[in-house]
């Protein structure tokens, strides 16, 4: 359990945001946290699952971000999975 400050963005939004997560959070949980700042605020909800991408790789939803090699101030991008 360690705080992990990240640069994050959501596909279709305009800016990178600062988001403090926990390194034990799963990719799915991080995706939800990113969406909370963007979806329904500046990007319309598509109702499809949210995935996250780090360093060009889409992370499995259940993988803990700390174990996926996500480091402080790395950029994580969330996006709606295609139905």
């Amino acid at each position: 359990m360690a705080p992990l400050p990240l640069s994050v963005s959501f596909d279709g939004d305009i800016t990178a945001l600062l988001l403090a997560v926990d390194d034990q959070d799963t990719a799915e949980a991080v995706g939800r946290q990113i969406a909370a700042h963007v979806v329904g605020r500046r990007v319309r909800d598509r109702g499809t699952p949210i995935r996250v991408r780090h360093d060009g790789r889409v992370l499995p939803p259940g993988q803990r971000v700390g174990e996926a090699g996500v480091r402080p101030l790395d950029h994580v991008e969330a996006f709606f999975d295609e139905p």
């Binding site: 640069s7 963005s9 305009i14 990178a16 945001l17 909370a36 605020r41």
Partner: protein, 494 residues
Amino acid sequence: MPRLSRSDWYDLSRDMNWTLRYARAEEVFPEELSGSHGVTAEAWERWDEPYKIGYREYVHNQVTKDTTTYSLKNAVSRSKLFDRLDPGWKSVILAHYGAITMPEYLAAIGEARMARFGRSAAWRNTATFGALDEMRHGQIQAFFTYGLLGKEPRADWAHKAYHTDNWVVLAARSLFDDMFVANDAVSMALQLTFTLETGFTNLQFLAMAADAMDVGDLEFGALISSIQTDEARHSQQGEPTIRVLIDNGHKEWGQFLIDHMFWRAWRVFAVLTGLSMDYYTPLESRRMSFKEFIEEWVVEQFAQQFRDFGLDYPWYWDDFRRELSWFHHGIHLGVWTYRPTVWWNPDAGVSAAERDWLEEKYPGWNDTFGRNWDVIQDNLRNGDVAATLPQTLPMMCNLCQIPIIRAAGVLAGALDSPAPLRHTYKGKTYLFCSEPCKWIFTRRPERFAGHRSLIDRFLGGDIDPPDLGGVLAYMGLSEAEQGGDATGYAWATR
């Protein structure tokens, strides 16, 4: 007493050089302050300003300008002119006054440095007038805003802004420290007077004065015109300085200085002027879009000037041209969203008629940024203002100190990735919004590494409590000073 024409006495009167006997030239003109790159004193003698003026003429001109401008202010201040101004236009002038008034004073430091450490006597003479100009600009703008305090308390930010750590001020202070407060005389001539003033502000002030008259803001129009005529004169210090550098084998250094500052000037210009021209200025008063303005006045006219010197376009020219279609739209969405963090009321500027104008000027706007505004508009129509306000900070560029909005570039189809660019220096990782910002940093990291971004300050524990309330307090914004939507969301509910 014989009356001589100016050409008979001018060269003699401005040449205050003398032969140094008690100190060496490098002690009198240290490289850190003169930046003359070893160009000889004889070579600097060829420095010749295009615009010539004597002290008596200067004083006469300035008194005339002040008398006219102050008289107009006195007349207008007794009217209800300010009350009748469009709310978006009030935002234009409040943003301008806060961001520009104190840097005018700081520019006087820069001009004074050229007046002391410029290697040519003619240049020092010209820069002395420049320092007097900038003092006048600081004073007149502080005084004009003082007159607005009864009607708009946030006019106080003309004086207050640079005594705070507001994010806009962090960005502008970083730029102006780089450009003139902490710069040598030669670099300043190229970066302040040539790149910023000749390239951007001189033209912008002309356009702003015309817009001010068009919206009925006679006071601001007269003020800006009065400043612009000074700028047109003192901005001409750049050209002879470039000429001396090029003639003495330092073209590459001149190109670097211009490439460096053109990008930084563009960044801040897009934030202040881009938003003003395309979103805050009332629709009926818009003469051209921000992109059209930049393409006509900067891309064609200014760029022609540096090509005349045999200089190349900056290496990032294509990226710059592409940014004209998206960067300020993204910044506008960001500034509006983070409206409590600025000292003016951002005007959304996206009513149905304004959207038509944006689509015409920026084809595709509705399908990109328009979609973000659709979601915002829905929330406002549902009475959910809270959903339009932020709950965390945007990432900030470690060079320009402006939010990293590469995602907007992806949205507009201009960039491939929203991820900030990275560079590690002495064990610390720095994040950047763009390749040119990263390039500027990595060319001289020791110059920029110590400037802590808002994110560095937040993560470093400077902001307490570490939430948005703490951020607003850190930025010096009382509740009454925080920005809101300029029209009270009227655009969204019509």
